[in-house]
Protein backbone atom coordinates (compact mmCIF):
# COMPACT_ATOMS: atom_id res chain seq x y z
CA UNK A 1 0.00 0.00 0.00
CA UNK A 2 1.28 3.40 -0.97
CA UNK A 3 1.45 6.20 1.57
CA UNK A 4 -0.37 9.17 0.11
CA UNK A 5 0.03 11.73 2.83
CA UNK A 6 2.33 11.75 5.76
CA UNK A 7 2.64 14.63 8.20
CA UNK A 8 5.26 14.95 10.89
CA UNK A 9 4.80 17.37 13.75
CA UNK A 10 2.71 19.64 11.60
CA UNK A 11 1.96 23.00 13.22
CA UNK A 12 0.08 26.08 12.25
CA UNK A 13 0.03 28.99 14.68
CA UNK A 14 -1.82 32.23 14.06
CA UNK A 15 -1.27 35.62 15.63
CA UNK A 16 1.71 37.18 17.29
CA UNK A 17 0.62 38.37 20.71
CA UNK A 18 -2.16 35.89 21.34
CA UNK A 19 -0.95 32.78 19.63
CA UNK A 20 -3.72 30.51 18.44
CA UNK A 21 -2.53 26.97 17.96
CA UNK A 22 -4.85 25.93 15.17
CA UNK A 23 -2.91 22.81 14.34
CA UNK A 24 -0.48 21.63 16.97
CA UNK A 25 2.04 18.87 16.39
CA UNK A 26 -0.04 16.60 14.20
CA UNK A 27 1.51 13.44 12.79
CA UNK A 28 -0.82 11.40 10.65
CA UNK A 29 -0.63 9.27 7.59
CA UNK A 30 -3.12 8.37 4.94
CA UNK A 31 -2.54 5.15 3.06
CA UNK A 32 -3.93 4.56 -0.39
CA UNK A 33 -7.29 2.84 -0.10
CA UNK A 34 -7.67 3.66 3.57
CA UNK A 35 -9.77 6.78 3.64
CA UNK A 36 -9.34 8.75 6.81
CA UNK A 37 -12.01 10.70 8.64
CA UNK A 38 -10.76 13.66 10.62
CA UNK A 39 -13.34 14.44 13.26
CA UNK A 40 -13.46 17.64 15.22
CA UNK A 41 -15.81 20.28 16.50
CA UNK A 42 -15.69 23.89 15.39
CA UNK A 43 -12.34 25.43 16.18
CA UNK A 44 -10.58 22.10 16.44
CA UNK A 45 -8.28 22.95 13.54
CA UNK A 46 -9.50 20.24 11.18
CA UNK A 47 -10.15 22.61 8.31
CA UNK A 48 -6.79 24.29 8.81
CA UNK A 49 -5.19 20.86 8.66
CA UNK A 50 -6.93 20.15 5.36
CA UNK A 51 -5.74 23.46 3.96
CA UNK A 52 -2.17 22.79 5.04
CA UNK A 53 -2.24 19.49 3.21
CA UNK A 54 -4.00 21.03 0.24
CA UNK A 55 -1.29 23.65 -0.07
CA UNK A 56 -3.74 26.47 0.51
CA UNK A 57 -1.86 27.57 3.62
CA UNK A 58 1.71 27.31 4.76
CA UNK A 59 2.54 25.46 7.99
CA UNK A 60 4.45 27.17 10.80
CA UNK A 61 6.51 24.03 11.39
CA UNK A 62 6.63 20.36 10.56
CA UNK A 63 6.59 18.33 7.39
CA UNK A 64 4.00 17.17 4.91
CA UNK A 65 4.85 14.50 2.38
CA UNK A 66 2.60 13.78 -0.54
CA UNK A 67 3.54 10.65 -2.48
CA UNK A 68 6.93 10.77 -0.82
CA UNK A 69 7.65 14.35 -1.83
CA UNK A 70 7.97 17.07 0.80
CA UNK A 71 5.48 19.77 -0.01
CA UNK A 72 5.45 22.11 2.97
CA UNK A 73 6.24 25.68 2.08
CA UNK A 74 6.57 25.06 -1.65
CA UNK A 75 5.30 27.81 -3.86
CA UNK A 76 2.18 27.54 -5.95
CA UNK A 77 4.35 26.87 -9.03
CA UNK A 78 5.85 23.64 -7.74
CA UNK A 79 2.64 22.68 -6.02
CA UNK A 80 0.40 22.99 -9.04
CA UNK A 81 1.48 19.75 -10.74
CA UNK A 82 0.69 17.89 -7.51
CA UNK A 83 -2.88 19.11 -7.49
CA UNK A 84 -3.63 16.74 -10.31
CA UNK A 85 -3.44 13.93 -7.77
CA UNK A 86 -4.95 15.85 -4.89
CA UNK A 87 -8.31 17.51 -5.30
CA UNK A 88 -10.58 19.20 -2.80
CA UNK A 89 -14.35 19.08 -2.40
CA UNK A 90 -15.46 22.12 -0.48
CA UNK A 91 -18.24 22.48 2.02
CA UNK A 92 -20.50 25.09 0.54
CA UNK A 93 -22.15 23.48 -2.41
CA UNK A 94 -23.28 26.49 -4.39
CA UNK A 95 -20.55 28.99 -3.63
CA UNK A 96 -17.72 26.97 -5.09
CA UNK A 97 -18.64 27.59 -8.71
CA UNK A 98 -18.06 30.90 -10.41
CA UNK A 99 -21.61 32.03 -11.20
CA UNK A 100 -20.47 33.46 -14.52
CA UNK A 101 -19.65 30.08 -16.07
CA UNK A 102 -21.61 26.94 -16.76
CA UNK A 103 -20.91 23.84 -14.73
CA UNK A 104 -19.36 22.28 -17.83
CA UNK A 105 -17.04 25.24 -18.36
CA UNK A 106 -15.94 25.15 -14.74
CA UNK A 107 -15.10 21.47 -14.95
CA UNK A 108 -13.32 21.77 -18.28
CA UNK A 109 -11.26 24.59 -16.88
CA UNK A 110 -9.76 22.31 -14.23
CA UNK A 111 -9.13 19.60 -16.81
CA UNK A 112 -7.52 22.03 -19.21
CA UNK A 113 -5.07 23.12 -16.53
CA UNK A 114 -3.48 19.68 -16.61
CA UNK A 115 -4.31 17.83 -19.78
CA UNK A 116 -4.04 18.90 -23.39
CA UNK A 117 -6.77 17.11 -25.27
CA UNK A 118 -8.78 17.68 -28.42
CA UNK A 119 -11.99 19.60 -27.90
CA UNK A 120 -14.29 16.63 -28.20
CA UNK A 121 -12.24 14.70 -25.66
CA UNK A 122 -12.76 17.45 -23.10
CA UNK A 123 -16.50 17.23 -23.55
CA UNK A 124 -16.28 13.48 -23.30
CA UNK A 125 -14.40 13.66 -20.01
CA UNK A 126 -16.85 16.15 -18.53
CA UNK A 127 -19.79 13.96 -19.49
CA UNK A 128 -18.05 10.99 -17.96
CA UNK A 129 -17.33 12.85 -14.71
CA UNK A 130 -20.92 14.00 -14.46
CA UNK A 131 -22.21 10.52 -15.15
CA UNK A 132 -19.96 9.14 -12.45
CA UNK A 133 -21.59 11.32 -9.84
CA UNK A 134 -25.04 10.40 -11.08
CA UNK A 135 -25.83 13.61 -12.92
CA UNK A 136 -27.32 13.98 -16.35
CA UNK A 137 -24.50 15.26 -18.63
CA UNK A 138 -27.01 17.75 -20.01
CA UNK A 139 -26.62 19.68 -16.78
CA UNK A 140 -23.19 20.87 -17.90
CA UNK A 141 -24.91 23.68 -19.76
CA UNK A 142 -26.54 25.00 -16.62
CA UNK A 143 -25.26 27.67 -14.32
CA UNK A 144 -24.73 27.02 -10.65
CA UNK A 145 -27.79 29.00 -9.62
CA UNK A 146 -29.94 26.67 -11.67
CA UNK A 147 -28.94 23.56 -9.74
CA UNK A 148 -30.35 22.23 -6.47
CA UNK A 149 -28.09 21.85 -3.44
CA UNK A 150 -27.62 18.14 -4.02
CA UNK A 151 -26.86 18.61 -7.70
CA UNK A 152 -24.33 21.31 -6.85
CA UNK A 153 -22.52 19.04 -4.47
CA UNK A 154 -22.49 16.26 -7.07
CA UNK A 155 -21.09 18.66 -9.66
CA UNK A 156 -18.53 19.72 -7.10
CA UNK A 157 -17.46 16.11 -6.67
CA UNK A 158 -17.42 15.68 -10.45
CA UNK A 159 -15.00 18.57 -10.76
CA UNK A 160 -12.72 16.99 -8.19
CA UNK A 161 -12.87 13.64 -9.98
CA UNK A 162 -12.36 14.80 -13.53
CA UNK A 163 -8.57 14.69 -13.15
CA UNK A 164 -8.76 11.15 -11.71
CA UNK A 165 -6.87 12.12 -8.55
CA UNK A 166 -5.48 9.73 -5.99
CA UNK A 167 -6.51 11.75 -2.95
CA UNK A 168 -9.65 13.79 -2.52
CA UNK A 169 -9.95 16.05 0.50
CA UNK A 170 -13.63 16.42 1.38
CA UNK A 171 -14.24 19.33 3.72
CA UNK A 172 -17.65 18.79 5.32
CA UNK A 173 -19.09 17.50 2.06
CA UNK A 174 -22.64 17.08 3.32
CA UNK A 175 -23.12 19.49 6.20
CA UNK A 176 -24.68 22.21 4.05
CA UNK A 177 -27.17 19.79 2.51
CA UNK A 178 -30.61 18.73 3.60
CA UNK A 179 -30.76 15.54 5.59
CA UNK A 180 -32.56 13.56 2.95
CA UNK A 181 -29.72 13.94 0.45
CA UNK A 182 -26.83 13.53 2.84
CA UNK A 183 -27.04 9.80 2.75
CA UNK A 184 -27.14 9.78 -1.04
CA UNK A 185 -24.00 11.88 -1.30
CA UNK A 186 -22.14 9.77 1.26
CA UNK A 187 -23.12 6.60 -0.54
CA UNK A 188 -21.97 8.19 -3.78
CA UNK A 189 -18.59 9.04 -2.28
CA UNK A 190 -18.21 5.46 -1.15
CA UNK A 191 -19.22 4.06 -4.52
CA UNK A 192 -16.64 6.28 -6.21
CA UNK A 193 -13.81 5.18 -3.99
CA UNK A 194 -14.60 1.54 -4.57
CA UNK A 195 -14.83 1.91 -8.34
CA UNK A 196 -12.08 4.36 -9.12
CA UNK A 197 -9.44 3.80 -6.49
CA UNK A 198 -9.75 7.18 -4.83
CA UNK A 199 -8.78 7.78 -1.21
CA UNK A 200 -10.49 10.42 0.90
CA UNK A 201 -9.52 12.65 3.70
CA UNK A 202 -12.97 13.36 5.09
CA UNK A 203 -13.11 16.42 7.31
CA UNK A 204 -16.29 16.49 9.35
CA UNK A 205 -17.83 17.30 12.67
CA UNK A 206 -20.56 14.75 12.18
CA UNK A 207 -19.50 11.35 13.40
CA UNK A 208 -22.40 9.65 11.75
CA UNK A 209 -20.85 10.35 8.33
CA UNK A 210 -17.76 8.32 9.06
CA UNK A 211 -18.77 4.67 8.56
CA UNK A 212 -20.19 5.41 5.12
CA UNK A 213 -16.92 6.46 3.60
CA UNK A 214 -13.91 5.88 5.80
CA UNK A 215 -11.74 3.09 7.03
CA UNK A 216 -9.87 5.02 9.72
CA UNK A 217 -10.76 7.82 12.13
CA UNK A 218 -8.70 10.53 13.78
CA UNK A 219 -10.28 12.65 16.47
CA UNK A 220 -9.00 16.17 16.81
CA UNK A 221 -9.47 18.63 19.64
CA UNK A 222 -7.95 22.11 19.84
CA UNK A 223 -5.36 21.40 17.21
CA UNK A 224 -4.25 18.03 18.50
CA UNK A 225 -5.05 14.49 17.52
CA UNK A 226 -6.34 12.68 20.61
CA UNK A 227 -7.20 9.34 19.09
CA UNK A 228 -6.53 7.42 15.90
CA UNK A 229 -8.29 4.22 15.05
CA UNK A 230 -8.45 1.92 12.07
CA UNK A 231 -11.73 0.27 11.24
CA UNK A 232 -14.96 2.20 11.53
CA UNK A 233 -17.47 -0.36 12.74
CA UNK A 234 -18.93 0.30 16.16
CA UNK A 235 -16.60 3.24 16.77
CA UNK A 236 -18.78 4.33 19.64
CA UNK A 237 -18.02 1.23 21.66
CA UNK A 238 -14.34 1.10 20.82
CA UNK A 239 -13.19 4.65 21.47
CA UNK A 240 -11.06 5.10 24.58
CA UNK A 241 -10.28 8.78 24.96
CA UNK A 242 -12.69 10.59 27.28
CA UNK A 243 -13.30 13.25 24.64
CA UNK A 244 -14.12 10.68 21.98
CA UNK A 245 -16.52 9.03 24.37
CA UNK A 246 -18.20 12.33 25.09
CA UNK A 247 -18.54 12.99 21.36
CA UNK A 248 -20.16 9.66 20.76
CA UNK A 249 -22.51 10.02 23.67
CA UNK A 250 -23.68 13.33 22.24
CA UNK A 251 -25.02 11.99 18.97
CA UNK A 252 -28.81 11.90 18.96
CA UNK A 253 -30.04 8.35 18.65
CA UNK A 254 -32.97 8.90 16.30
CA UNK A 255 -34.98 6.50 18.43
CA UNK A 256 -37.51 8.02 20.82
CA UNK A 257 -37.52 4.86 22.93
CA UNK A 258 -33.83 5.12 23.65
CA UNK A 259 -33.42 8.73 24.63
CA UNK A 260 -30.04 9.32 26.11
CA UNK A 261 -29.01 12.94 25.65
CA UNK A 262 -31.47 14.23 28.20
CA UNK A 263 -30.77 11.49 30.71
CA UNK A 264 -27.00 11.67 30.64
CA UNK A 265 -25.60 13.64 33.57
CA UNK A 266 -24.44 17.15 32.64
CA UNK A 267 -20.73 17.68 32.15
CA UNK A 268 -18.44 20.67 32.10
CA UNK A 269 -19.43 23.26 29.55
CA UNK A 270 -17.06 24.25 26.80
CA UNK A 271 -14.28 26.58 27.77
CA UNK A 272 -13.38 30.01 26.59
CA UNK A 273 -9.60 29.88 26.70
CA UNK A 274 -7.10 27.44 25.32
CA UNK A 275 -5.12 25.68 28.03
CA UNK A 276 -1.54 26.93 28.44
CA UNK A 277 0.00 23.46 28.63
CA UNK A 278 -0.81 19.82 29.01
CA UNK A 279 -3.75 18.00 27.55
CA UNK A 280 -6.17 20.39 25.79
CA UNK A 281 -9.15 18.48 27.17
CA UNK A 282 -8.09 18.76 30.83
CA UNK A 283 -10.79 21.17 31.98
CA UNK A 284 -13.66 19.13 30.61
CA UNK A 285 -12.26 15.75 31.47
CA UNK A 286 -13.74 13.72 34.32
CA UNK A 287 -10.57 11.72 34.89
CA UNK A 288 -8.10 14.57 34.71
CA UNK A 289 -4.97 14.27 36.87
CA UNK A 290 -2.12 16.61 37.74
CA UNK A 291 -0.02 14.92 35.12
CA UNK A 292 -2.52 15.84 32.40
CA UNK A 293 -2.17 19.50 33.38
CA UNK A 294 1.59 19.39 33.05
CA UNK A 295 2.36 17.48 29.88
CA UNK A 296 0.52 16.43 26.78
CA UNK A 297 0.06 12.66 26.83
CA UNK A 298 1.83 11.02 23.88
CA UNK A 299 0.02 8.88 21.33
CA UNK A 300 0.30 5.30 22.53
CA UNK A 301 -0.75 2.25 20.61
CA UNK A 302 -3.33 0.44 22.77
CA UNK A 303 -4.14 -2.25 20.25
CA UNK A 304 -3.10 -2.76 16.63
CA UNK A 305 -4.08 0.27 14.60
CA UNK A 306 -5.56 2.10 17.58
CA UNK A 307 -3.65 4.94 19.22
CA UNK A 308 -4.82 7.10 22.10
CA UNK A 309 -3.23 10.20 23.60
CA UNK A 310 -4.37 9.92 27.19
CA UNK A 311 -2.87 8.91 30.53
CA UNK A 312 -6.07 7.14 31.42
Amino acid sequence: MQTLIQTEGLKKYYGKKHVVRAVDDVSLQIMQGRSLALIGESGSGKTTFARLIGGLEKPSAGKVRFLGQEIQGTGEKTFRPLRKDMQIVFQSSGGVFDPGYTIGESIVEVLRNYEKLPRAAYEERVDEALRRVGLDPELKNRYVTQLSGGQCQRANIARALVLRPKLVICDEPVSSLDYSIRKQILNLLNEIQEKYDVTYLLITHDLSNVPYVCKAVAIMYQGRILEYMEGTTAIGERVMHPYSKLLYRSIPAADPRRRRLLLDEPEQTEELHAVPKGCPFQNRCVSCTDRCRETMPPMVEREPGHQVACYC
Binding site: E41, D206, Y212, A254, L262
Partner: protein, 263 residues
Amino acid sequence: MDYRQTDELSIENLCVDFDTPEGIVHAVRDVSLKVHKGRITALVGESGSGKSVTSLAVMSLLARNGSINNGKIICNGTDLLALSVKERHALNGRTFGMIFQDPGAALDPLFTVEQQMTEGLREHQRISRQEARELSIRYLKAVNLQEPESLLKKRPFELSGGMCQRVMIAMTMALQPDYLIADEPTTALDVTVQKQILRQIYQLCREQEIGILFITHDLGVVAEIADEVAIMQAGQIVENGDVLQIFEHPQHAYTKQLLNAVL
Protein backbone atom coordinates in the same frame (compact mmCIF):
# COMPACT_ATOMS: atom_id res chain seq x y z
CA MET B 1 -54.90 13.69 26.33
CA ASP B 2 -57.14 16.58 27.24
CA TYR B 3 -55.97 20.14 27.38
CA ARG B 4 -57.84 23.23 28.28
CA GLN B 5 -58.20 25.61 25.39
CA THR B 6 -56.51 28.34 27.36
CA ASP B 7 -53.35 26.31 27.67
CA GLU B 8 -52.51 25.89 24.06
CA LEU B 9 -51.28 27.70 21.02
CA SER B 10 -53.30 26.52 18.11
CA ILE B 11 -52.68 27.24 14.46
CA GLU B 12 -55.66 26.40 12.30
CA ASN B 13 -55.68 26.15 8.51
CA LEU B 14 -52.98 28.78 8.20
CA CYS B 15 -52.12 29.99 4.70
CA VAL B 16 -49.25 32.37 4.05
CA ASP B 17 -48.52 33.82 0.63
CA PHE B 18 -45.57 35.84 -0.55
CA ASP B 19 -45.87 38.35 -3.33
CA THR B 20 -42.64 38.10 -5.30
CA PRO B 21 -41.61 39.52 -8.66
CA GLU B 22 -41.99 36.00 -10.09
CA GLY B 23 -45.58 35.76 -8.87
CA ILE B 24 -47.36 34.69 -5.72
CA VAL B 25 -45.67 31.97 -3.72
CA HIS B 26 -47.82 29.88 -1.41
CA ALA B 27 -45.25 29.30 1.31
CA VAL B 28 -47.61 27.80 3.89
CA ARG B 29 -50.75 26.00 2.79
CA ASP B 30 -53.48 25.00 5.18
CA VAL B 31 -51.27 24.24 8.14
CA SER B 32 -52.84 23.20 11.44
CA LEU B 33 -50.74 22.67 14.50
CA LYS B 34 -51.06 22.67 18.27
CA VAL B 35 -48.50 23.51 20.94
CA HIS B 36 -49.44 22.66 24.52
CA LYS B 37 -47.93 24.18 27.60
CA GLY B 38 -45.29 21.95 29.08
CA ARG B 39 -44.92 19.94 25.88
CA ILE B 40 -42.59 20.07 22.92
CA THR B 41 -44.00 20.03 19.42
CA ALA B 42 -41.40 19.49 16.74
CA LEU B 43 -42.03 20.94 13.30
CA VAL B 44 -39.84 19.01 10.90
CA GLY B 45 -39.08 19.90 7.33
CA GLU B 46 -36.27 20.53 4.89
CA SER B 47 -35.08 23.93 3.76
CA GLY B 48 -37.83 25.77 1.93
CA SER B 49 -40.65 23.67 3.36
CA GLY B 50 -42.22 26.68 5.08
CA LYS B 51 -41.51 25.75 8.66
CA SER B 52 -39.81 29.01 9.56
CA VAL B 53 -42.50 31.02 7.80
CA THR B 54 -45.09 29.34 10.01
CA SER B 55 -43.26 30.45 13.13
CA LEU B 56 -42.77 33.98 11.82
CA ALA B 57 -46.49 34.19 11.12
CA VAL B 58 -47.17 33.37 14.76
CA MET B 59 -44.79 36.07 15.89
CA SER B 60 -46.21 38.53 13.34
CA LEU B 61 -42.73 38.94 11.92
CA LEU B 62 -43.44 38.12 8.28
CA ALA B 63 -41.54 40.06 5.67
CA ARG B 64 -43.51 42.92 4.16
CA ASN B 65 -44.47 41.01 1.01
CA GLY B 66 -45.88 38.13 3.05
CA SER B 67 -49.50 37.95 4.13
CA ILE B 68 -51.72 35.56 6.02
CA ASN B 69 -54.62 34.76 3.72
CA ASN B 70 -56.57 32.27 5.67
CA GLY B 71 -56.67 30.52 9.00
CA LYS B 72 -56.52 31.33 12.66
CA ILE B 73 -53.80 31.57 15.24
CA ILE B 74 -55.38 31.07 18.66
CA CYS B 75 -53.28 31.58 21.72
CA ASN B 76 -54.67 30.89 25.19
CA GLY B 77 -58.17 31.28 23.79
CA THR B 78 -57.76 34.56 21.87
CA ASP B 79 -57.55 34.82 18.13
CA LEU B 80 -54.31 36.66 17.39
CA LEU B 81 -55.27 37.60 13.88
CA ALA B 82 -58.12 39.72 15.26
CA LEU B 83 -55.62 41.87 17.15
CA SER B 84 -53.85 44.93 15.80
CA VAL B 85 -50.21 44.72 14.76
CA LYS B 86 -49.26 46.75 17.81
CA GLU B 87 -51.07 44.42 20.17
CA ARG B 88 -49.50 41.42 18.52
CA HIS B 89 -46.00 42.80 18.77
CA ALA B 90 -46.66 43.45 22.44
CA LEU B 91 -47.18 39.72 22.86
CA ASN B 92 -43.70 38.97 21.59
CA GLY B 93 -41.44 38.58 24.57
CA ARG B 94 -44.09 38.08 27.23
CA THR B 95 -46.22 35.47 25.49
CA PHE B 96 -43.87 34.23 22.79
CA GLY B 97 -40.16 33.91 23.15
CA MET B 98 -38.01 33.07 20.18
CA ILE B 99 -34.53 31.70 19.73
CA PHE B 100 -32.79 31.44 16.41
CA GLN B 101 -30.34 29.29 14.55
CA ASP B 102 -27.53 31.79 14.58
CA PRO B 103 -27.23 33.03 18.14
CA GLY B 104 -24.28 35.26 17.31
CA ALA B 105 -26.35 37.24 14.83
CA ALA B 106 -29.34 37.55 17.16
CA LEU B 107 -27.30 39.47 19.70
CA ASP B 108 -26.03 42.97 19.02
CA PRO B 109 -22.22 42.97 19.01
CA LEU B 110 -22.07 46.58 20.18
CA PHE B 111 -23.67 45.97 23.55
CA THR B 112 -22.68 43.86 26.52
CA VAL B 113 -24.76 40.90 27.57
CA GLU B 114 -25.90 42.90 30.58
CA GLN B 115 -27.11 45.82 28.50
CA GLN B 116 -29.07 43.56 26.21
CA MET B 117 -30.61 41.47 28.95
CA THR B 118 -31.62 44.29 31.25
CA GLU B 119 -32.99 46.34 28.39
CA GLY B 120 -35.29 43.52 27.39
CA LEU B 121 -36.40 42.97 30.96
CA ARG B 122 -37.08 46.59 31.73
CA GLU B 123 -39.07 47.06 28.58
CA HIS B 124 -41.58 44.53 29.79
CA GLN B 125 -41.42 44.93 33.54
CA ARG B 126 -41.27 47.92 35.87
CA ILE B 127 -38.08 47.10 37.69
CA SER B 128 -34.91 48.96 38.55
CA ARG B 129 -31.62 48.41 36.82
CA GLN B 130 -30.29 46.60 39.86
CA GLU B 131 -33.27 44.27 39.99
CA ALA B 132 -32.95 43.57 36.29
CA ARG B 133 -29.31 42.74 36.79
CA GLU B 134 -30.04 40.32 39.58
CA LEU B 135 -32.76 38.69 37.56
CA SER B 136 -30.35 38.35 34.64
CA ILE B 137 -27.80 36.64 36.81
CA ARG B 138 -30.41 34.26 38.11
CA TYR B 139 -31.45 33.23 34.61
CA LEU B 140 -27.89 32.95 33.36
CA LYS B 141 -27.23 30.57 36.23
CA ALA B 142 -30.35 28.65 35.37
CA VAL B 143 -29.01 27.89 31.90
CA ASN B 144 -25.82 26.52 33.43
CA LEU B 145 -23.53 29.39 32.57
CA GLN B 146 -20.64 29.75 34.95
CA GLU B 147 -19.52 33.06 36.45
CA PRO B 148 -22.60 34.97 35.27
CA GLU B 149 -21.29 38.21 36.82
CA SER B 150 -18.26 38.36 34.57
CA LEU B 151 -20.30 37.08 31.66
CA LEU B 152 -22.59 40.10 31.89
CA LYS B 153 -19.71 42.39 31.04
CA LYS B 154 -18.82 40.51 27.87
CA ARG B 155 -19.92 41.26 24.35
CA PRO B 156 -21.38 38.55 22.11
CA PHE B 157 -18.28 38.07 19.95
CA GLU B 158 -16.28 37.15 23.03
CA LEU B 159 -18.52 34.16 23.63
CA SER B 160 -18.66 30.83 21.88
CA GLY B 161 -21.70 29.84 19.81
CA GLY B 162 -23.02 27.61 22.57
CA MET B 163 -22.68 30.36 25.16
CA CYS B 164 -24.43 32.86 22.91
CA GLN B 165 -27.29 30.45 22.44
CA ARG B 166 -27.54 29.96 26.20
CA VAL B 167 -27.54 33.70 26.73
CA MET B 168 -30.35 33.93 24.18
CA ILE B 169 -32.30 31.28 26.05
CA ALA B 170 -31.71 33.06 29.36
CA MET B 171 -32.85 36.36 27.85
CA THR B 172 -35.95 34.78 26.45
CA MET B 173 -36.74 32.91 29.62
CA ALA B 174 -36.26 35.92 31.88
CA LEU B 175 -39.45 37.31 30.38
CA GLN B 176 -41.29 34.12 31.34
CA PRO B 177 -43.10 33.55 28.08
CA ASP B 178 -45.90 31.00 27.74
CA TYR B 179 -44.50 29.66 24.51
CA LEU B 180 -41.03 29.37 23.09
CA ILE B 181 -40.41 29.14 19.38
CA ALA B 182 -37.03 27.59 18.76
CA ASP B 183 -36.00 27.85 15.11
CA GLU B 184 -33.19 25.35 14.51
CA PRO B 185 -31.58 26.34 17.82
CA THR B 186 -28.82 23.75 17.68
CA THR B 187 -28.11 23.41 13.97
CA ALA B 188 -25.09 25.70 14.08
CA LEU B 189 -23.66 24.12 17.21
CA ASP B 190 -21.33 21.22 17.89
CA VAL B 191 -22.88 17.97 19.05
CA THR B 192 -21.53 18.22 22.59
CA VAL B 193 -22.99 21.71 22.90
CA GLN B 194 -26.18 20.70 21.16
CA LYS B 195 -26.69 18.12 23.84
CA GLN B 196 -26.50 20.71 26.60
CA ILE B 197 -28.80 23.14 24.83
CA LEU B 198 -31.37 20.42 24.20
CA ARG B 199 -31.32 19.49 27.86
CA GLN B 200 -31.81 23.15 28.75
CA ILE B 201 -34.80 23.47 26.49
CA TYR B 202 -36.28 20.24 27.76
CA GLN B 203 -35.93 21.31 31.38
CA LEU B 204 -37.52 24.67 30.73
CA CYS B 205 -40.43 23.02 29.09
CA ARG B 206 -41.10 20.61 31.90
CA GLU B 207 -40.22 22.72 34.93
CA GLN B 208 -41.75 26.01 33.86
CA GLU B 209 -44.64 24.60 31.87
CA ILE B 210 -43.63 26.33 28.69
CA GLY B 211 -45.02 25.19 25.38
CA ILE B 212 -42.28 24.76 22.83
CA LEU B 213 -42.48 24.82 19.06
CA PHE B 214 -39.20 23.23 18.03
CA ILE B 215 -38.35 23.78 14.39
CA THR B 216 -35.68 21.52 12.99
CA HIS B 217 -34.71 19.33 10.09
CA ASP B 218 -32.80 16.87 12.25
CA LEU B 219 -34.87 13.81 13.08
CA GLY B 220 -32.21 12.61 15.52
CA VAL B 221 -32.86 15.68 17.65
CA VAL B 222 -36.60 15.23 17.28
CA ALA B 223 -36.38 11.70 18.60
CA GLU B 224 -34.51 12.92 21.64
CA ILE B 225 -36.68 15.80 22.67
CA ALA B 226 -40.12 16.01 21.07
CA ASP B 227 -43.50 14.95 22.40
CA GLU B 228 -45.42 15.60 19.24
CA VAL B 229 -44.14 15.79 15.70
CA ALA B 230 -45.46 17.49 12.58
CA ILE B 231 -43.78 16.72 9.29
CA MET B 232 -43.88 19.51 6.77
CA GLN B 233 -43.26 19.30 3.05
CA ALA B 234 -43.70 22.04 0.45
CA GLY B 235 -45.81 24.23 2.74
CA GLN B 236 -48.12 21.50 3.96
CA ILE B 237 -48.17 19.24 6.96
CA VAL B 238 -48.13 15.74 5.59
CA GLU B 239 -48.22 13.87 8.85
CA ASN B 240 -48.44 14.64 12.53
CA GLY B 241 -48.82 12.76 15.72
CA ASP B 242 -47.11 11.45 18.79
CA VAL B 243 -43.34 11.03 18.52
CA LEU B 244 -43.43 7.27 19.06
CA GLN B 245 -46.13 6.81 16.51
CA ILE B 246 -44.26 8.85 13.90
CA PHE B 247 -40.99 7.03 14.40
CA GLU B 248 -42.41 3.55 14.67
CA HIS B 249 -45.38 3.64 12.36
CA PRO B 250 -44.84 6.38 9.82
CA GLN B 251 -47.77 6.60 7.43
CA HIS B 252 -46.82 9.13 4.80
CA ALA B 253 -44.25 8.28 2.15
CA TYR B 254 -42.31 11.48 2.83
CA THR B 255 -41.99 10.68 6.52
CA LYS B 256 -40.67 7.26 5.65
CA GLN B 257 -38.23 8.80 3.23
CA LEU B 258 -36.96 11.19 5.90
CA LEU B 259 -36.58 8.41 8.45
CA ASN B 260 -34.71 6.35 5.91
CA ALA B 261 -32.27 9.15 5.33
CA VAL B 262 -31.21 9.31 8.98
CA LEU B 263 -27.55 8.45 9.05
